[in-house]
């Protein structure tokens, strides 16, 4: 893939550095080999590979060409691509660090408060003065720790209240803050019980879940980015004084003049200024057949220039490089997805009012029964603490961590937790054709040609980047290339094969005979031979679709390609419902119709024309080779492109949803037992601590029950 690493080099005080994403490095020997090979390059001062993120940081002095760093890594058999240093995942890394710090603070505080609480639970002969001292010490540790480490819960609770919603963080924050206040009051006035231990332990358990969740999401994000980085291109810009320089695609500004070499992908939308070539629009419109380009034509980002260099003018910066209707669809999809309510939030919304009503009832009941105000308040607060949503708060995140980990191992990278829940509820799957169910690359079909014809044609084909030429070369294998080859953009190639002039190309260029599709090959003055091509269905596509159909899913194909091609591909994949000639707009409309008919649709696609549909579907997946836009619009990215991943993702998501429901059931059952105990005023600190640990352990073990 066309990428010039020079565009990604940063320089400070004569030290030039480059971050390279390395694929396939998993073990100590990979690490040693890669660092060794890069470290030996002239002038290199630092070469350090981070195995957790797959990023190799290289710093050197002198004139070493950045390309040699990439070559040193790829020469060892690993994938390598230069990436933007630092820009990618620092925010997620910061979030993870903050959660780790909060978790450790809560953990240390829990250990210390426990050690102070134990004598209070069991030391029956402790005098009042010693007891008070222990309590003040516990308060000294617990209050700052709980205020610091619970920050993420309080902020989220306040935020959700502001939007007049209830999420799980509201009862969590209430339980922590009320138990701290109650305990402080008891410490100051010599009251019966303090719950400092329960408050910090609750936070500690919940933070373990949050931290694991954040760490896994960051790894998935990095892995999905790595898939994308392997195909990001740099661009060649012509400056005003005519000098060509390599720049990052993200640095291209509207109006910049670019040169796109044959085989390069357009980094941004651009208008053709000079040159005649052919463009491969597979990722843009889903059409397999390349299209001839003309001066003044607007080519969209993602189109691949095939036969001759083109001079183009950039129309929009990389991040806005979209057809206008796709951009509109993406925006609509984003709004739709933000309105999705997660299972945990639904549970919280029904659970919180009930528990708070029970607490109020207990307060009033005890007052009527003749208790003092303090005693009644104590009962009400213990109801809130003991029904503390520890098990509820852990119920969903833990399952999510286990499920996302399972998906990660299969090369399926989840973008968010609610995506998992949405994938679990789909009942209809819509596939894009080109690149998703098919390889996206034409393959030579059997026809009226001999092996001799194929070998002769391959000599010419070896000089061309046209997808059909590549298919001929793939079928013919290795061999010599023709002499004096010239490529005629949009027509074909011409050259000397074994001393005789020959042509390979379109019907009008080679000879009059043949269909309008495919290629003709002829020696000068001889009748031409026709080659036909087909975009073949991926291995595993048929079995994946059969599995989906057996599970009761409606399966259909939606493509921007022509009728006959879509019909053939659908038949080969075993799909009976298909739509051809779809535009980005009509793809999204088609999904809206399905949704109006009560279907929950999972969209699987990779092209620019799929992005709108991916964003608007109930849930969506994109193969790793997808365009950036589509990858970002999808809930999930899967590596390798095998459609089996779609089935795996649905199965794992469904299992996860089952476990989540069980966990909420278990937590509800526990609350049913705990509430009467608290209402009777029997929830002593030791009862609260044991009940909380036991219920948390229960939901954790249930989450881990998910088969590995």
């Amino acid at each position: 893939m066309a990428q010039d690493p020079a565009a990604f080099v940063t320089e400070a005080k004569g030290l030039r550095s480059l971050d390279v994403l390395v694929r396939g490095a998993k073990c100590a020997s990979c690490l040693g080999r890669i660092e060794g090979a890069v470290g030996k390059l002239p002038g290199v001062e630092t070469a350090r590979l981070n195995l957790s993120t797959g990023k190799l940081h290289v710093a050197w002095r002198g004139v070493l060409a950045p390309r040699r760093v990439i070559e040193a890594v790829t020469g060892l058999g690993y994938g390598a691509a230069a990436v933007d240093a630092g820009a990618s995942d620092t925010e997620k890394a910061r979030e993870e660090r903050a959660l780790l710090t909060a978790m450790v603070v809560a953990g240390l505080a829990t250990a210390n408060v426990m050690f102070l609480s134990e004598p209070m639970w069991f030391g029956e002969d402790m005098d009042a003065g010693t007891m008070t001292m222990f309590r003040w010490l516990a308060a000294l540790v617990a209050i700052p720790a709980a205020l610091f480490s619970g920050w993420t819960f309080y902020a989220s609770a306040v935020n959700s209240m502001r939007h007049r919603r209830l999420n799980m963080d509201v009862p969590i924050s209430l339980a922590v803050l009320l138990s701290l206040a109650l305990s402080l009051h008891a410490t100051a006035t010599g009251g019966a019980h303090t719950y400092f231990d329960a408050a910090v332990m609750l936070l500690f358990f919940l933070l373990i879940g949050r931290f694991l969740d954040a760490r896994l999401r960051r790894r998935a994000y990095a892995a999905a980015n790595a898939l994308a980085a392997m195909q990001t291109a740099s661009a060649t810009r012509i400056s005003t004084c005519g000098v060509a320089e390599a720049v990052r695609a993200s640095d291209v500004r509207p109006g910049d003049m670019l040169v796109v070499a044959a085989g390069e992908r357009l980094p941004v939308d651009a208008e053709v200024i000079a040159g005649a070539s052919e463009a491969d629009l597979r990722l843009v419109t889903g059409e397999v057949e390349p299209k001839a380009t003309f001066v003044g034509q607007v080519l969209h980002a993602g189109a691949v220039n095939l036969s001759a260099p083109l001079r183009v003018r950039a129309l929009a910066a990389a991040d806005r490089s979209l057809m206008a209707d796709v951009a509109r669809l993406l925006e609509a999809g984003e709004q739709k997805k933000s309105s999705y309510r997660r299972i945990a939030d639904k549970v919280a919304a029904s659970y919180v009012p009930q528990v708070h009503a029970v607490a109020l009832l207990g307060f009033v009941g005890w007052l009527i029964a003749g208790a003092t105000l303090t005693q009644a308040a104590f009962v009400a607060v213990t109801v809130l603490i003991i029904t503390c949503p520890c098990a509820l708060g852990l119920a969903a995140p833990l399952v999510q961590v286990v499920a996302a980990g399972k998906l990660f191992k299969r090369g399926i990278y989840l973008s968010s937790g609610d995506a998992l829940e949405r994938i679990a509820t789909v009942d209809h799957v819509v596939f894009d054709k080109t690149g998703t169910l098919t390889l996206g690359e034409p393959v030579l079909l059997a026809g009226e040609w001999s092996e001799r014809d194929l070998q002769d044609a391959a000599q010419l084909a070896r000089a061309s980047r046209h997808p059909f030429s590549r298919a001929i070369v793939a079928a013919a294998g290795g061999g010599p290339a023709a002499d004096q080859v010239s490529e005629h953009p949009g027509l074909g190639v011409e050259g000397k094969v074994c001393g005789r002039w020959a042509r390979l190309g379109q019907a009008g260029f080679v000879g009059p005979k043949g269909g309008k599709r495919g290629l003709l090959f002829a020696f000068e003055g001889e009748p031409p031979v026709a080659f036909a091509f087909e975009d073949v269905v991926r291995e595993g596509a048929r079995s994946a679709i059969q599995r989906l159909q057996a599970m009761g899913f409606g399966v259909e194909m939606l493509s921007g390609d022509a009728d006959e091609r879509v019909a053939r591909a659908a038949a080969a994949a075993g799909i009976s419902v298909w739509t051809a000639n779809a535009t980005p707009q009509s793809k999204a409309e088609h999904l809206a119709r399905l949704e109006a008919a009560g279907r929950k649709v999972l969209m699987v696609g990779d092209g620019l024309n799929d992005a709108g549909a991916l964003a608007n579907a109930h849930a969506s997946l994109a193969p790793g080779g997808a365009l950036d836009v589509s990858r970002l619009a999808a809930d999930c990215v899967y590596a390798g492109g095998n459609p089996d991943a779609v089935v795996d993702a649905i199965l794992i998501a469904r299992e996860a949803r089952g476990r989540m429901r069980e966990n909420f059931g278990l937590a509800a059952l526990y609350n049913l037992l705990a509430i009467p105990v608290a209402l009777m005023g029997l929830a002593t600190p030791i009862v609260a601590a044991v009940a909380m640990s036991a219920s948390s352990a229960l939901v954790t073990l249930n989450a881990l029950r998910m088969s590995r």
């Binding site: 100590a28 690490l31 060794g36 195995l51 450790v104 505080a109 210390n112 050690f115 010693t130 540790v141």
Partner: protein, 49 residues
């Protein structure tokens, strides 16, 4: 029981030292690449040059 007056603050101080140690290790990048650090133990670093 007077020993408590000395022991309890000492225990809490120790926890504080542990916390400080953790924060330092986090800041110095020891949690940045757990997989790499596990692998690096196995490498010989007595390569010539």
């Amino acid at each position: 029981m007077n020993v408590l007056l000395f022991m309890l603050p000492a225990a809490i101080l120790l926890a504080g030292v542990a916390l400080a140690g953790f924060l330092w290790s986090l800041k110095s990048g020891q949690f940045d690449d757990p997989a790499g650090d596990a692998a690096r133990v196995l490498l010989d670093d007595d390569r010539p040059g």
